[in-house]
C-alpha cells in the first residue's frame, strides 16, 4: 500500500525537476581531490591551525557543525567538507582551540591491537577496561549495527573474520581507564578504516580549553603528533574552581599509519603519563589489520567528531 502511494506521489514530480536531475553535472566533483590523494590533513593543517585561534562550533546531541571564519580560507577542504547543505543545524559559538582532521581509507577493514607494555599506575589498575574485537562482533550481531551484517549470527561473523572466539577476545580496539580512577586517564583507541570509511574524523578541543602541538615526527611506520590540552581556563571560567591535577593537562599522542590509513590515539593525564611513556606504549603495540570488510550504517552526518575530552 505504502509502495503504491509513494509511486503515485513520485509521478507528481514536475518535468522541470526530472530534466534538471537527468542533466545535472556535479560541479564540485571536478574540484574535489581524488579521495586517495586526500590522505591525512594532520600535518598540513596543524602547522597552520595552531596559529589560528578559533572556529565556531556547535556541538549537540550527535550533531556537530564547524564553520571557519572567512579569513581561514586556507582551510578550504575543511570548510567545504563541513558545510551542511540544509541549514538545519544551528550554529552556536563555542571556542575550539584546535582541530585535527583525519581522512580514512576507501576500504573498510578493521584494525585491532594488543599492548605488550603499559606504564604504572595503569598496568596494575583494576579500573582498566578492555574493549575486544569479540565485543564489537557480539554487539554488531545483537544490534544489526553494520550494513550487511544484519541477521548474521556471531559464529558467522567470527568465521568471516577468520578468528576463533578466543582470538577475537585477545585483540582490542580500545583500552581505557577513566580519569576519575586513581590511575588517572589513560586511553588507547584505534580509529580504523571501518570507522573512518564514513568520512573524515575530526578531533576537536572545545569548551574553552587550550591546546598546543608539541611535536611532529616519525615513529617507526607512523606519523606522530603530540598534543597537550590545558583545561585550567575551562575549570576556572566555567566551573569556577581550580582544575584537579589529574584533569588539568592531558597529553595526546596521535599515530597515523599512512599505508593502511588508520589512527591510534594514546591519551593520558600529564600528572601520571609523560609523552615518553605514551610513545613507548605506541612503540610496543602489536597491530592486526583484518581483511574483513563491512560498511557503517547510515549516519546522521558524513563525518565523525571526537572531542579530546577530559576522560
Amino acid at each position: 500500500m505504502k509502495e503504491e502511494i509513494m509511486l503515485h506521489a513520485l509521478e507528481e514530480i514536475s518535468d522541470e525537476r526530472l530534466l534538471e536531475a537527468a542533466f545535472y553535472v556535479p560541479i564540485a566533483k571536478a574540484h574535489r581531490p581524488k579521495r586517495l590523494v586526500r590522505v591525512l590533513l594532520i600535518a598540513a593543517v596543524l602547522t597552520t591551525l595552531f596559529s589560528v585561534t578559533a572556529f565556531a562550533v556547535w556541538q549537540g546531541a550527535m550533531k556537530v557543525r564547524i564553520s571557519a571564519p572567512e579569513e581561514k580560507a586556507s582551510f578550504h577542504l575543511l570548510k567545504s567538507d563541513f558545510t551542511d547543505d540544509y541549514g538545519e543545524y544551528a550554529v552556536l559559538d563555542r571556542h575550539v582551540a584546535l582541530t585535527v582532521t583525519v581522512e580514512g581509507a576507501e576500504r573498510a577493514h578493521w584494525v585491532q591491537f594488543r599492548v605488550s607494555w603499559l606504564p604504572e599506575p595503569a598496568a596494575s589498575s583494576d579500573r582498566l577496561e578492555r574493549h575486544s574485537f569479540f565485543d564489537v562482533l557480539n554487539f554488531a550481531s545483537d544490534h544489526s549495527l553494520y550494513v550487511g551484517w544484519r541477521q548474521r549470527p556471531l559464529e558467522q561473523l567470527l568465521r568471516e573474520a577468520n578468528m576463533s572466539e578466543d582470538e577475537a577476545k585477545s585483540w582490542y580496539n580500545r583500552i581505557n581507564c577513566d580519569a576519575r580512577a586513581p590511575a588517572s586517564l589513560l586511553d588507547i583507541s584505534v580509529y580504523d578504516a571501518a570507522l573512518l570509511h564514513n568520512g573524515p574524523l575530526i578531533f576537536g578541543v572545545a569548551e574553552g580549553a587550550t591546546a598546543e602541538v608539541l611535536r611532529e615526527a616519525a615513529l617507526g611506520d607512523y606519523e606522530l603528533l603530540e598534543l597537550q590540552v590545558d583545561y585550567s581556563a575551562f575549570y576556572r571560567e566555567q566551573l569556577k574552581q581550580d582544575a584537579p591535577a589529574e584533569l588539568k593537562l592531558q597529553n595526546h599522542v596521535l599515530l597515523y599509519e599512512p599505508t593502511e590509513k588508520y589512527l591510534i590515539r594514546i591519551s593520558g593525564s600529564d600528572s601520571a603519563y609523560s609523552f615518553e611513556s605514551l610513545e613507548k606504549i605506541g612503540e610496543n603495540l602489536e597491530v592486526l589489520v583484518t581483511d574483513f570488510e563491512t560498511q557503517l550504517p547510515e549516519m546522521a552526518s558524513d563525518y565523525l567528531y571526537c572531542d579530546l575530552g577530559r576522560g
Binding site: 505504502k2 509521478e11 514530480i13 536531475a21
Partner: protein, 184 residues
C-alpha cells in the same frame, strides 16, 4: 535535433521519429529501465515498448519537453514488469523505494488518509528547499533508480557518504511531511 523537431516527426508519422527519439534520449531511457529492472534483456524490451507507447500517443499528445514524458512511460512499464515479477525478484530500486515508504505511517486506511497527488506535491515542494545538487541526488536515487555506487561515482565521495546525504534528506522530508500532516 530539437524536441519540437522530433515531435514533428511523430506527428508526420515518420519512422524516423523513433530513431530520433532513441538517438537523443535512448541512453537515459535504457538506464532508467536497467536501474529498475537490473536485467539487460528486460530493460531493452521495456524501452522498445516505451517507444511504441510514445508512437501511439503522440499525436494527439504533444509533450514538450519530450524526455520526462518518455521517461515516465518507460519507468511505468519497468515498474509494471517489476510488479509482475513478484516479491522473489525485488530489484534494488524497490529497496530504495522502501526507504521513502518508511516515512509514511503504518495504517490500514492509509489510502484513505493520504492523497498520493498531495503527497507528490509536498515532495515537489521539499525538492524546492534543496540545492540543485541534492535535488539531483535525491531524484537520481528515488526516481531514476540509480544505485548508491553509481551516485558515488557521479557525485564523488564514498557510497557511505552518499547514503548519509540521502538519509539527511529523508529526515528533512519526514519533518516536512509531519509538519504538513501527512504523518502523525
Amino acid at each position: 535535433m530539437t524536441d519540437t523537431e522530433i515531435i514533428s516527426l511523430f506527428f508526420a508519422r515518420s519512422e524516423q521519429a523513433i530513431a530520433a527519439l532513441g538517438e537523443k534520449y535512448g541512453a537515459i531511457l535504457r538506464r532508467i529501465a536497467r536501474n529498475l529492472l537490473q536485467n539487460e534483456e528486460d530493460a531493452e524490451e521495456c524501452v522498445n515498448d516505451g517507444y511504441l507507447a510514445v508512437w501511439n500517443t503522440v499525436p494527439p499528445r504533444k509533450p514538450d519537453p519530450l524526455l520526462p514524458y518518455a521517461a515516465r512511460i518507460v519507468r511505468n512499464k519497468a515498474l509494471s514488469l517489476l510488479r509482475r515479477r513478484g516479491a522473489e525478484k525485488r530489484s534494488g530500486y524497490l529497496w530504495a523505494l522502501d526507504e521513502l515508504c518508511e516515512l509514511l505511517p503504518d495504517s490500514e486506511d492509509l489510502q484513505a488518509r493520504i492523497d498520493a497527488m498531495e503527497l507528490g506535491r509536498s515532495i515537489d515542494r521539499f525538492l524546492d528547499t534543496l540545492t540543485a545538487e541534492n535535488r539531483a541526488l535525491f531524484l537520481r536515487r528515488y526516481w531514476y533508480g540509480e544505485s548508491t555506487e553509481e551516485l558515488a561515482e557521479r557525485f564523488g565521495g564514498t557510497e557511505n557518504r552518499i547514503s548519509a546525504r540521502l538519509f539527511r534528506m529523508r529526515r528533512a522530508l519526514k519533518k516536512q511531511l509531519e509538519k504538513e500532516g501527512f504523518t502523525p
